[in-house]
Symmetry: C2
Subunit: 424 residues, 2 copies
């Protein structure tokens, strides 16, 4: 029988025994590494939450470092790593003491819940390496060349309060409370060393296994995403590993890591919902109901970008979203999209283009999360063109943006990013 | 085999056949009333979403009527009722045509998804009956006495942009996309007759069946809620039906209806997370881990409000949340709490009380939805005292508020609230 306050008792175990009124001392309890079917591994060659089959919910936060010294940063990352290893197994962030006359090491709001496939993914923004001209932690020389400042894209309407950050945590789980709880516990560990900068929730529909989910625009989203288990296809010419993970071209400490581009993309859903289906299909370049490229029958049929109709017009328009995102028109550039929809209620908005409506509108859209081994040959390459040409832009507004470099996987007793700090 | 574009084909059926490239004309398709295991009934003696076992997600909107005439209002309610009956069965809001050169009767973002136990619950605010001194629809004389203007409670910091509304729709489902989709389709039907006023998402943890879920403060929430299948207990003296449904005391058109009080309650989670467990327990009046009243062992043990410790102090403090909410101290008043947690990211907040922190803080807390047969003897009765005395108030801020009267269930071809319009 597991001890309810053991650091290694699962939340379910804790819950059952605590609910039955059984109390036991924490000291000397045996370590029971309990991997339930709903837990995702924390240790491994890569961080979780990237190649992991996508969970239904995300809670994402960016933080600004206030730590004065490098040792405070490494202490924070060490604390985060220890807590994250526990949380992803469904354990409280730290052992819950029997002494109730103290602040608990975990807020307790996930007691009794399964791990819900929680993953916690950590990333570093440019501000870790250099901020306001100051090399706060002696890491400036270690800033990877690929950790660029994102260019200003055509149409950007970025809100600083939804952009940037020195650190990020992506919490993905099948239960929104599990994701939020994990971040709350980690942010609590950062008190005095890092402050919350912005936060965003996201969700996916409960799409049956093996099918491609639909986004808020009603189109299947992710058909041409690289997949860890799939061989390259005509539309997806490069292998998943080749697209996502930093290799020998990056610094040693970053092998097996990845770059995360985050964009908060509001969609004018009221406007979209009033447009004809064939217009929507022209904008996207796919049939709405089947997901097939225009003119094709099957969702996974290859995009034929050269095909013309009887009048000599391109079947998939020059401004179609799928054309502008295709590897074939971007010198082979590919990214892993691991996006969520977001829904933040409604607020007053004045559209600056047709139909020029103003009023309360949904603050909803796509919380875009894209992974790649190098953003210069990934998102930036693709979006520079897309931001100018994509017919979809008349419905979308990018109002948040960030780029993070995410170290590789965590082994044994290491903390996330340890090799960066040891190397310099 | 079902016709993919039949008004009565389920989303799953539509999806399967549409994905296979099968198209068929809509005309004359047989009506296949397909109730899947994950659908909740739309017709019945009461509206769904009240006594319905609580779904995992809510999307709630309030709207302001812009309709000039009463007939426009009834036409809207008729359209809403027809669409809602379909949506709750997992059907598109209206039949999806094979003609893609048209705006579709449904945006399509839930094609392929199960009904996810969707319920749609409609309510009327005071503004339907009288607004800005104008009896727009000839309903002023029908305003029920119990549809009062909520009093200003101690500590209220209400934002008009999160309060009020002439109409409301509560969409609850186990899938957030299903809930949002349903409201989008209904709001689309309201174009030109009603405008969105405010919107709010909420969620619950995936608590194992039969257990009481924990809120964001880590406490079990809902232990003493009335339950349709439970006999009254010492702490829950009145039957569910007696607490929730309007009876002979209300107008004829409202029999079987209920009143909904909505409060958006921000919780200072950063502050809460830094407090000792025994302090939290004193504030709530229950043990955190077991959920038992302080001094008791079992979650469902009766509150003993008179019990004193050896020094003669009340075991459950005078300011404890459970004491102030108990029927025993509120002349027997009870309500059905059917609340959700909300998580809207973070924003800049300056606390006006200890610990006087300021900075980016979670905009998260409780989206409180409470049902009762009369708000004067329900929420208002309980909260007038609680808003002044509750120790929990040091962590909570009510920043949104509304009261709606929700008609009884819908029968046959009636539309929601039909008897109100026919009666006057």
């Amino acid at each position: 029988m597991s001890c309810p306050f053991s650091p290694d008792a699962s939340r379910r175990g804790f819950f059952r025994t605590a609910a039955a009124g059984v109390l036991a001392a924490a000291a000397g309890a045996p370590a029971l590494a309990e991997e339930t079917p709903s837990s995702e591994p924390f240790h491994g060659p890569h961080q979780g939450g990237i190649a992991t089959p996508q969970q239904k919910h995300v809670y994402f936060v960016a933080l600004d470092l206030t730590a004065k010294q490098r040792d405070d940063v490494t202490a924070l990352l060490r604390a985060w790593t220890m807590a994250a290893a526990r949380l992803t197994r469904g354990l409280p962030a730290g052992p819950i003491s029997t002494d109730v006359n103290a602040v608990a090491a975990d807020g307790g709001d996930t007691i009794g819940l399964p791990p819900a496939r929680l993953t916690l993914t950590f990333g570093f923004g440019a501000g870790l390496f250099m901020k306001d001209g100051r090399d706060r932690y002696g890491l400036a020389v270690r800033r990877p060349a690929a950790l660029v400042d994102l260019p200003v894209f055509h149409g950007d309407q970025l809100d600083p309060a939804r952009s940037g950050g020195d650190l990020c945590i992506q919490a993905c789980a099948d239960d929104p409370q599990v994701a939020f709880h994990a971040v709350r516990e980690l942010v609590r560990l950062a008190y005095g060393r890092a402050d919350l900068r912005w936060a965003q929730t996201g969700f996916l529909p409960d799409t049956p296994a093996g099918e491609t989910g639909r986004n808020l625009m009603g189109f299947k989203d992710g058909t041409n995403n690289p997949h860890p288990d799939h061989a390259p296809r005509a539309d997806v010419p490069r292998r998943f590993d080749d697209v996502v993970w930093v290799g020998a071209e990056g610094p040693d400490w970053l092998r097996g890591g990845s770059y995360l581009v985050v964009r908060r993309i509001r969609i004018s859903l009221e406007h979209w919902d009033r447009t004809e289906v064939d217009f929507q299909e022209e904008v996207i370049g796919r049939h709405k109901y089947s997901g097939a490229p225009i003119g094709k029958a099957g969702e996974f049929d290859a995009l034929d970008l050269a095909s013309e109709d009887q009048e000599g017009n391109l079947v998939i328009k020059e401004t179609a979203h799928v054309r502008l995102g295709a590897a074939a028109v971007n010198d082979g550039a590919q990214i892993l999209r691991r996006a969520y929809s977001y829904n933040d209620g409604a607020n007053f908005t004045a559209l600056r283009w047709p139909p020029w409506r103003q009023g309360m509108m949904y603050d909803a859209g796509l919380f875009f999360l894209a992974w790649q081994r190098d953003p210069r040959s990934g998102f930036i390459k693709i979006f520079e063109n897309m931001s100018r040409m994509d017919a979809l832009n008349q419905f979308t507004t990018h109002n948040g943006s960030a780029l993070f470099v995410c170290p590789g996987g965590i082994a044994g007793a290491d903390f996330v990013g340890q090799r960066l700090f040891e190397a310099s």
